[in-house]
């Protein structure tokens, strides 16, 4: 019963990878701490360990980067997470917005072999139930070319591909509005004065805050 699983390492790398993919700004200790919901002191300590392990690279300007090794591990973790999500939805009949917590546990099972078997068992899916791409064995990700709803044009129709925020509160919220990956919607109107949106989903018009709209990723449809 060897317990040197570096369980949290995977969480750090995964979160870091996600932050870095939103190529906005540089990721510093504060950003990472917030994303992980942990104390900056804790994160600093851990990031230094990850640096010792050659998983991250600490640049003099205080920004945190992934090494190739770290990126590889992050992608593997994301792969595991998303494949388990597919499993839970397709085989265990969970709904797409119920699987996050369980996948969060399952992603830490140590066996690349099992994940590969799971992958082929599920028919080598390219996207998870949230519409997010699943890295293949070599870490390659299929691109979806999605844009946030905030970047869309009023009057046009779109399909939801995935969500930029996969937190439970957001998913629950969207569930009530019947907004989920795969659903079609029409951007009725952008309200300039508060940045909110009117969106038509399943014949009904709903209101979305700027914050919510920013986290809904869509493709023209």
């Amino acid at each position: 019963m060897a317990h040197f699983s570096h369980h949290s390492e995977e969480n750090y790398l995964k979160t870091l990878f996600k932050l870095l993919s939103r190529q906005d700004i540089k990721v510093n200790n504060t950003a990472l701490s917030k994303a992980l919901g942990l104390n900056p002191a804790t994160v600093l300590e851990m990031v230094r360990k990850l640096s010792d392990r050659k998983m991250v690279q600490l640049v003099p300007d205080k920004s945190i980067h992934l090494t190739e090794k770290g990126k590889k591990k992050a992608l593997l973790t994301i792969r595991k997470h998303r494949l388990w999500e597919v499993f839970l939805v397709e085989k265990m009949n969970y709904k797409w917005n119920e699987v996050h917590e369980l996948a969060e546990q399952l992603e830490h099972i140590e066996s690349t072999d099992l994940v590969d078997r799971l992958d082929s068992y599920l028919g080598n899916p390219s996207f998870d139930p949230h519409g997010d791409p699943i890295p293949d064995k070599n870490g390659k990700i299929k691109n979806k070319l999605s844009i946030p709803l905030t970047a869309c044009a009023a009057g046009k129709k779109y399909m939801v591909t995935n969500l930029a925020d996969t937190g439970d509160p957001f998913l629950q919220f969207l569930g009530k509005l019947n907004i989920m990956p795969g659903i079609k919607l029409k951007l009725v109107e952008k309200h300039e004065y508060d940045g909110s949106f009117s969106v038509e989903v399943l014949k009904k018009t709903v209101q979305l805050s700027e914050k919510a709209a920013r986290n809904i990723m869509v493709q023209p449809a």
Copy 2:
């Protein structure tokens, strides 16, 4: 990312349950430590915590017992372990002697709901790939009425139901002899002078030490 999984608690309870089922003798700290492969000081400390949590009961004569609560949790863990083993063999195409380590990890996934879904997905199996019984939702176990090969009569035919030692070395060893749950064998002869056995398996006769034979559980067939 709440980390209060009491990951090891399940290992202690499971091991304790197994030791107690072999109703030989009483289970003391030494026995449990040996079974877990841990230092007695560690085990004593943990057993006291389990006592605080009302999982085990410490009797004045130093023997360790499970409370109802502890037994329930132990059975749930065993249930999880064995169902995941079935999954790995039936769905992931692992061989029966390759799944132990992985199931050891998977058994700690926290969700009774998932296990129940897994159970019905697998067709509510009563035995795992090693021939060990799988506790149902309520912790009930089907009895197999198996006896060790050492208690068998020469000249008669038997079917292997399960193995009393599920350690990898033993499983590997048996694999080489094609002995596994479900296989039929004939007890050719007991050799009195060293307690060893001659057994016919798949038309070939192999030799088994008393130790090996003691760990092979069979039913008349």
